[in-house]
Amino acid sequence: MRYDYVIIGNSAGGIGCIEAIRELDEASSVAIIAAEKYHAYSRALIPYYLDGKIELDKIYYRPPDFYEKMDVDAYLGVKAVGIDVSSREVLLENGGRIGFGKLLIATGGRPFIPPIEGLSGQKNVFTFLKLDDAIGVKEAISGAGSAIVLGGGIIGLMVAEVLRRKSIEVTVVELADRVLAPVVDATTSNLVQEKFAENGVKIILQNTITKVVGEEEVEKVILKDGSELPTDLLILAVGVRPNTEVAKNTPIKVNRGIVVNKHMETSVEGIYACGDCAEIYDFVFGANRVLPLWPTAYVGGRVAGFNMCGRRREYTYATSMNAMHFFDLYIVSAGLNVPNDSDEFEILCTLDERRRIYRKFALKDGQIAGFILAGRVDRAGILLKLMREGVNVSEFKDRLLKEDFGYVDLPEEIRWELLGDKVKLGVVYEYEHGGHGRAACEGRCEGHEA
């Protein structure tokens, strides 16, 4: 088989690409290949599924007839093992080959499994990246009284919260001196740690698991400091690595992730990559890096799709951005994660300890380089917009700390430049009878005779 467009990976990036292609081109042939057997689902929803907040039918990211509507051949449960760049074919594990005109690699991430003595596929040990993982954990928790989560990152903490809600005694083991260290500052980590402590989750910092004991099942773990913890369940959530296997032994340039330019094209013409498997330009960071996030995967796939169809588009506004929540504490962080004692950045922050509301901005040359909102995240997107547009905020920077910061807090000129005629009426109407033009009200208003 040969298709005009082939996509490896059936998640945010792959779907973003299909939707973009079909906006521009209804006629070309499109195929999607995915190792997982499921209809496009959101892996970001697996904690909600485990929690019981959603049923399985709500985990699907697009309606059941998505592939038919999009006129896409879906090869689900089919693993790609390589790419023949000269014959322009994807090599499948089952021995098959699928030819392509243009290709998108959106194979996502794979869990990093740290070297731990004694780990040998015990059946109560899980990673937490796929729907199958969530289904496995769901089965394993019935009857479980205790669990250990290795890794205090977003995924580890989300799992810990859910398990705790299932009345399981949960211990999180984290190597750093605080949770979420790569994504938020120390003040925010503290708020999160307090939240977990209050809800009865134990967090052990600056420690890790060196050994597990148990044959069929892990019965206890031994930590670096020599202490031993018995457990019914072990979740490994120490990190996700770009899944770049299919690009092995090809001329496609791979650094930590598959390297792409702003058009999402790899070093091989006509082959694109996006999402967790790729390294893209972060406009705040000022260089390429892996940004393993749902929105960047989707938009990356979308931009790739446009370019694959010959419509030139660049992805210029990617940067780190996380919306997360733990128990009732909501957090949004974006851009660079800067410590509060930085000399390089100007730091503005305010913490309401009683209400646990925190706002923090890191400025460089008057522009927002990073921000964190915790406790109240209302209208966070305005801040992301200011960051993307490189607005010099010096003139009104103190207002950024207002909990209800809005467009009205911006100087008029900046405000209307940002909002533009999508918000403000740009056209001058003839005011016939003290009202608006007929076009706007279709003659429905009283002043307009039919």
């Binding site: 749902w294 929105p295 209302d378 997107g381 807090d409 918000v423 208003c445």
Partner: protein, 151 residues
């Protein structure tokens, strides 16, 4: 496709747009019943930005390139055939990725459900009451070309 725009210079900060938004999304669609008797009175899906003497109403712009949809991890946000950005509440998991993404800050949190609230252009009513009922014609419902913007 049509979009609601504002004339800030004539907005009187009366908040009637909010009132009529509530009525439009209420069960009874009746202003008295909605405010006095409906147990779970809906919340306005727009924001009135105000800092005396300035004010203007701001609601979802139903963008051509909607960052909220791109960021939505559940598929709850979607575009309908006419280009409106709509929200399927039954799919929303209250992750607030859309709140992080919306450059207008036009998506609100419903404190009753924790889920989000956004302008739906009153799809069922045909014409948005916030525009229709604005006493000073500070809101307009204008025709826009789909696909005119680029991200």
């Amino acid at each position: 496709m049509r979009r609601i725009v504002v004339k800030p210079e004539v907005c009187m900060n009366c908040h009637l747009c909010e009132v009529w938004c509530v009525v439009a999304h209420s069960k009874s669609k009746d202003i008295i019943k909605a405010f006095l008797y409906e147990e779970r009175k809906p919340l306005p899906r727009l924001i009135v930005e105000e800092s005396r003497p300035e004010s203007f109403a701001l609601q979802c712009k139903h963008c051509d390139e909607p960052d909220c949809i791109f960021a939505c991890i559940s598929g709850a946000l979607y575009k309908d055939e006419e280009g409106r950005v709509l929200h399927d509440e039954s799919k929303c998991v209250a992750c607030y990725s859309c709140i992080m993404a919306c450059p207008y800050g036009a998506i609100k949190i419903n404190p009753l459900t924790g889920k989000i609230l956004k302008c739906d252009l009153c799809v069922d009513l045909g014409f948005p009451p916030c525009v229709e009922k604005c006493p000073n014609n500070a809101l307009e419902y204008v025709e826009v070309e789909i696909g005119a913007e680029e991200s």
